[in-house]
């Protein structure tokens, strides 16, 4: 297609030989991605296959040690729980953000963003103070006459801490989708005789699902790689894969094994996402049709 055929288009945009221009604008991002993600990732894969010698010995080792499989499975379980908790907490919150006036919304946004600006380590340490056996929550429980419960060094504690750290990643995509949903659709449904709950489940929920999926994927993937929070809030039974990678690389200098663990985690994640993708896509289409 030449410029002369499309006289209404600004000529500079489509003149042959200048088509690279839009790509030139993405060059910084591309270079950055290749340099800080692509190349290191390539090195990790390479080293997992070449250290201490060429072959798949690191992968054989990974699948041969039961502890690795236990921890891999646990990593996915914890991440799934974190995602579920985040969805449950974030959904009503994001909805509220769309329903209130601008001033209250600003307060709600700040409540999400301010903890986001505080370092994850600091937030995790605050959770230590809250969750520990002699901590705030247990002291209150005892004051109220209940027995204390063990929260710190349990999976529950890790899930609570991680969900709090990751909550903004769920709320923000949800909010951006929800604010685009026309609330008059709900009124229309109700005017046609639907009860509010029916209107919500058949109209609002499907329209908001893209936000849920987007948030859930971000949270789930970020959760898989968590290190500090499970290390500080968890015990042996909530150790995640990142901790094992750290031991292999930093204590044992087994870069190959550490790399293999990273690759296994990455591939497993891809497989899970590939399995989830068709479901999400069909839901997307459905949502679009309605």
């Amino acid at each position: 297609m030449s410029a002369s055929e499309l006289p209404t288009q600004p000529a500079a945009d489509v003149r042959p030989g200048r088509a690279w221009r839009p790509f030139a604008l993405t060059a910084p991002a591309l270079i950055l991605l290749v340099a800080v993600i692509g190349y290191p990732l390539f090195t990790i894969v390479l080293r997992s296959l070449s250290e201490p010698e060429w072959g798949v010995q690191n992968y054989v080792w990974f699948f041969g040690a039961p502890i690795n499989l236990t921890v891999l499975q646990r990593t996915f379980t914890i991440s799934a729980w974190v995602t579920i908790v985040c969805v449950i907490c974030a959904y009503p919150y994001a909805y509220l953000m769309t329903a209130v006036g601008p001033r209250v919304r600003l307060v709600l946004v700040l409540c999400v963003l301010i903890p986001f600006w505080v370092s994850g380590v600091v937030r995790t340490l605050s959770w230590v103070i809250l969750l520990q056996d002699s901590g705030v929550i247990n002291s209150l429980l005892r004051l109220a006459g209940f027995d204390g419960i063990r929260l710190i060094r349990t999976q529950t504690g890790v899930v609570i801490g991680m969900a709090q750290v990751l909550l903004p990643f769920m709320i923000l995509p949800l909010y951006s989708v929800m604010k685009g949903i026309d609330l008059r659709l709900m009124r229309a449904a109700q005017s046609l005789g639907a009860r509010p709950s029916r209107a919500f489940f058949t109209v609002y929920l499907p329209l908001s699902l893209p936000g849920v999926y987007a948030g859930a994927i971000i949270v789930f993937i970020l959760a898989l790689g968590f290190y500090i929070t499970p290390a500080l809030l968890g015990g042996p039974r909530s150790t995640m894969l990142s901790t094992l990678v750290q031991t292999q690389v930093l204590s044992l200098l087994q870069w190959g094994r550490g790399g293999a663990m990273g690759v296994v985690l990455l591939v497993t994640t891809f497989v899970l996402l590939a399995l989830a993708a068709p479901v999400m896509r069909s839901r997307y289409r459905e949502a679009g049709r309605r």
């Binding site: 002699s134 500080l232 909530s238 200098l253 870069w255």
Partner: protein
């Protein structure tokens, strides 16, 4: 140790014949720095940060002022990072403070074999100079117990620590990464073994003893966490670093040490393979080993100095946890280095599995 000292002696004799009196002036004295000797040079010193590295920097201030060197502080020490530097042939860390074992495990590979004619190691406690390292300071791993919990019947040894029937309560163990050889040896003793004749298979037996402490056992990840466990009273018996134990008690933790068989540990000072100016690194080490430097280090950090002449001015609470008094020296337990160095990887693997809940 004996071998290296003997080699040093041989070198002194040999050189003495050739150089005569001139050599006597060249023989290094710990803490002595030649005026302006490193002007225009830069050294990067790597350690673990925090109050510890601040104290080390203070201990090296005189060295910096006198020699004219520019000293950069970096950290924290990570052997993997050092390995990457050595492998790429671009070593930017000139002197590195490490844990107890790495200089032995990677001696000659990542750390230079030390030329003891360039260092004065005469004031260092017996048996602490390695082929690739000199100690950076001494400290201990000590059994701390809750005084209010055990009252008149306190635990006295690691055997009591591992005996949950006689001494019920929550235990806290160093879960910061690598296994502590000394603790595993004590555990092996509880299982009826002889630590001096330990084999690789025995590591499992020792770890089983630790595992039997039960699911309530806390594996603390950082020194600060161990201190916090004592101050909040969450653990009844804790395996603690002496510096942290001291601070916890100072902050009001109602804990007391059981010194019997406290585990002798130290940080090591090393020179990586491939540094640009080896002699400058030696000069820093030699200054660091000096009496005055070690006094400053002990006063700033409360760790035990490794120069026998050092007499740091510390208050009673700090002095109570210094490990170089004759009494403490008698009670200390030294891990079986010869066993742990070649079996470091196996032990780490098994320990990591325990840490990950297996």
């Amino acid at each position: 140790m004996f071998k290296s000292r003997f080699a040093g002696l041989g070198a002194i004799l040999a050189l003495g014949v050739v150089a005569g009196a001139a050599f006597a002036q060249e023989k290094p004295v710990a803490g002595e720095v030649k005026e302006g000797s490193l002007k225009g040079k830069t050294l990067t010193f790597v350690s673990y940060g925090g109050i510890y590295q601040d104290g080390q920097a203070a201990a090296l201030k005189e060295f910096v002022d006198k020699s004219g060197v520019k000293l950069l502080n970096d950290g924290p020490t990570e052997i993997a990072k050092l390995q990457a530097q050595v492998e790429s042939g671009n070593v930017t860390w000139d002197v590195v403070d490490t844990d107890d074992l790495p200089p032995y495990v990677y001696c000659g590979k990542l750390f230079q074999k030390l030329d003891l004619t360039k260092l004065d190691v005469s004031k260092i406690p017996e048996g602490q100079v390695g082929e690739c390292s000199v100690p950076a300071m001494n400290y201990g791993v000590v059994l701390m117990y809750n005084k209010e919990k055990y009252k008149d019947n306190p635990p006295k040894s690691w055997a009591d620590f591992f005996d949950t029937a006689k001494f019920p309560g929550v235990r806290g163990i160093d879960g910061s990464g690598s296994p502590t050889g000394g603790l595993l040896e004590q555990a092996f003793k509880v299982a009826g073994g002889d630590p001096k004749a330990m084999t690789v298979a025995d590591i499992d037996k020792a770890i089983d003893v630790v595992r039997k402490l039960g699911p309530d056992t806390i594996f603390w990840k950082t020194g600060a966490e161990s201190q916090q466990l004592a101050e909040s009273g969450e653990a009844d018996m804790l395996m603690m670093w002496t510096g942290r134990a001291m601070t916890a008690v100072k902050n009001g933790a109602k804990y007391a040490p059981a010194w019997q068989d406290w585990l002798v540990v130290m940080d090591q000072m090393t020179i990586p393979v491939g540094v640009k100016d080896t002699d400058a690194s030696y000069a820093l080490l030699n200054a660091y080993l000096g009496k005055q430097s070690q006094e400053i280090l002990a006063e700033k950090t409360s760790y035990t100095p490794i120069n026998g002449d050092a007499q740091p001015k510390v208050d009673a609470s700090v002095a109570a946890f210094l490990t170089n008094t004759p009494d403490r020296q008698k009670q200390g337990y030294k891990q079986n280095f010869k066993f742990w160095v070649p079996n470091f990887a196996v032990a780490q693997e098994k320990w990591s599995a325990l840490m990950a809940g297996n």
